[in-house]
């Protein structure tokens, strides 16, 4: 059994787990189940990153998403109340059917393109990455981040400022009596 075979098997298992988690998020009635489903998806995607030799990204995925973001989600769910089950009244009966048909058509189309379209990925992108980067070391990520990509890195600081200022400005308001 070659290396490729192992990779494929791991990919299939992790991808199926990720999909199962995603389906749970949408279908579960209890928000806690949804959150746990999301956790499963996030972990499975982290496994896919490891298969791609992106160890740092995988670690960040687990720490930031599965750790911090999930905690926030659960916190909010607990604040709102776990016992409130969603009311099963269908507000959009017809639209949902059409969206379902449309989504099915898109998925079929995408599958068709993936199967019969001749995809050529450019190998130049892969070879341009040096050996250190493929080992997933922090240095290999950090160096381009603070040299070639420094402006993009700084631009994300603007995002944080917007987040803070936006939260302040949206949180303080008085609702006028309707």
């Amino acid at each position: 059994m070659g290396k490729r075979m192992v990779e494929t098997v791991i990919f299939v298992i992790a991808a199926l787990a990720a999909l199962a988690g995603a389906v749970t998020v949408v279908l579960a009635r209890n928000p806690i189940y949804s959150a746990v489903g999301l956790l499963g998806t996030l972990f499975s995607v982290a496994i896919l990153y490891v298969v791609q030799l992106a160890h740092l990204v995988a670690a960040v995925q687990v720490i930031v998403y599965a750790g911090a973001v999930m905690t926030l989600f659960l916190f909010v769910i607990m604040l709102i109340g776990v016992d409130k089950e969603e009311k099963r009244v269908e507000p959009l009966p017809r639209q949902r059917l059409w969206v379902g048909i449309l989504a099915g058509a898109v998925i079929l189309f995408a599958a068709g393109v993936a199967l019969f379209g001749e995809f050529v990925w450019v190998p130049a992108a892969a070879t341009a990455i040096d050996q250190e980067a493929t080992n997933g070391t922090i240095q290999a990520v950090a160096e381009p981040l603070f040299t070639d990509w420094v402006l993009a890195f700084e631009a994300t600081a603007l995002l944080l400022t917007i987040g803070a200022a936006g939260a302040v400005v949206l949180a303080q308001f008085k609702r006028k009596r309707a």
């Binding site: 990925w121 302040v168 006028k176």
Partner: protein, 486 residues
């Protein structure tokens, strides 16, 4: 040992001024709690510095182009450029920000202590879009897009006291995030197909290699166009626009719509006309299709609107279609001229809306405009000229702009598109005339003249620009013709 990156202060000077300005506004507000008037002067100074630095960049860029040194126009390892295209768009953005803030200033003041945050968010949104129009790298472009868009989502919800504003913010946020995801997926596929994020790198790759099976690139282009098409409210990605225009605070809608359109179209033009110019045969029919759909849908739906804001939203969809004909025409100067003209008119038109329906009002029913010609003759006159300008009446700048993009598309061999566009313009004229008729032909229910605040300066400038560039367009046309992407 890491070599420190080369920092080109010139290339980011205006963005830096705006970002530092935003931080300054927040800090000054916390420390001294200045009166709104002081805040206004501070913001005005920041925008003036930004505009001044942009003009300096223009000089520098013109020198570099004259000496044939295009390499020096790219900075930060190819992340951004300071070519004429970027600088022209950036100047339009800053001008629209100044006008938009003046039009919305009464709303900002009405926010009280939250006004400073709102102002800072406006400045940050402009910073983001300014980085976006200058981006030479799809990742940088995406970051600029997100910085701008997320700030706009918050601005749409600033009048949260009203349900409509909350609805507008949530709708804009959810659909906008989805569009951003579509865009970034397209970028990933383009990277997979060409091995580069850089606009110039992609063009180089397409030049150097014969792409035997380009399905990945095609899908990537399609998704990128769809994502950006959302931001400029081109049909069929326009459904959010009427609700957001109607619900967001009246004073700021003009600004939000104008900067999103300018930045979105600048990005579309740069990506399609520079990076994928070699694949024009594949994307031209798609863009022409979006253009036709936007023009027809926008014009027809605008006819039946009973609310001026929704009417302007659908007319914005139609205008997105008109600008798309310029992209089909393949000439950036037509697109830039149209964007500059339209952004000014849009901010001016929404300044009128802000006066009529109050700075934070919801909706702006056509009924409120009944008899405006008798009630506030100057206001109605300004609105009339702006609407005629948007409709493209000769001797207004709107005509020159439409004429420019239509001739470009005609020369490109898309005669049928131009014919559809001309018919759509005539239909579009009908609903602009309808508003004018309501303003002048009907009796006013309320004879009390409306109170006009700082909006009057915005209107004076917008009307002046509409007429001036309608009669003497060559000054702006020459600038737009010089504003070439690298």
């Amino acid at each position: 040992m890491i070599t420190p990156p080369e920092i080109s202060w010139v290339a980011i000077a205006p963005d830096l001024a705006l970002a530092i300005g935003a931080a300054l506004v927040l800090l000054v507000d916390v420390q001294w709690k200045p009166a709104p008037r002081v805040l206004g002067w501070l913001v005005g100074a920041i925008l003036a510095v930004g505009a001044g630095l942009t003009i300096l960049q223009w000089e520098q860029g013109a020198d570099a182009l004259a000496s044939g040194d295009t390499e020096s126009l790219v900075a930060f390892s190819g992340l951004i450029t300071m070519d004429g295209f970027a600088i022209f768009s950036r100047f339009v953005l800053i001008a629209a920000t100044g006008l938009g803030l003046a039009a919305g200033w009464r709303f900002v003041v009405s926010l009280g202590r939250r006004g400073a945050e709102a102002t800072a968010l406006v400045l940050l949104a402009t910073t983001g879009f300014s980085l976006m129009v200058a981006a030479n790298n799809l990742v940088m472009l995406f970051l600029g897009l997100e910085v701008g868009s997320i700030a706009l989502y918050v601005l749409a919800g600033l009048a949260r006291e009203r349900r409509e504003s909350e609805e507008a913010a949530i709708k804009y946020f959810l659909l906008g995030s989805f569009a951003s995801a579509v865009f970034i997926y397209g970028v990933a596929l383009i990277y997979a197909g060409t091995g580069s994020f850089e606009i110039l790198g992609i063009r180089q790759h397409l030049n150097d290699f014969v792409i035997s099976s380009p399905a990945v690139i095609y899908i990537g282009i399609g998704l990128v166009v769809a994502g950006l098409g959302f931001k400029v409210s081109a049909a069929p990605f326009h459904t959010w626009a009427p609700d957001v225009y109607q619900g967001a605070p009246a004073g700021l809608v003009g600004y939000m719509a104008a900067v999103a359109k300018v930045a979105g179209f600048a990005a579309i033009a740069r990506i399609l006309l520079t990076a994928f110019s070699d694949l024009a045969d594949t994307w031209l029919p798609v863009v022409a299709g979006i253009s036709v759909l936007s023009m027809v849908l926008g014009s027809v739906l605008a006819l039946v609107q009973g609310d001026v804001r929704r009417l302007l939203a659908y007319s914005g969809v139609a205008h997105a279609g008109f600008i798309m004909t310029g992209v089909v025409g393949g000439a950036t100067d037509g697109v830039l001229f149209y964007l500059a003209i339209y952004a000014i008119q849009l901010v001016g038109a929404f300044a009128v809306v802000a006066v009529v329906s109050g700075p934070d009002g919801a909706g702006s029913s056509l009924e409120e405009y009944r008899g405006l010609g008798r009630r506030s003759p100057l206001l109605a006159g300004a609105f009339t000229i702006l609407l005629l300008g948007m409709g493209g009446l000769p001797i207004t700048s709107g005509f020159v702009a439409k004429f420019g993009v239509f001739t470009d598309a005609w020369a490109q061999g898309y005669q049928w598109l131009v014919i559809v566009a001309v018919i759509a313009s005539v239909v579009a004229f009908a609903f602009y005339i309808r508003v004018i008729v309501v303003m002048y032909m009907d009796d006013a229910g309320d004879e009390q003249p409306l109170r006009v605040g700082p909006e009057r300066w915005v209107l004076a400038l917008a009307v002046g620009a509409t007429i001036l560039w309608g009669i003497f367009p060559s000054s702006l046309l020459d600038l737009a013709a010089d504003a070439l992407p690298i």
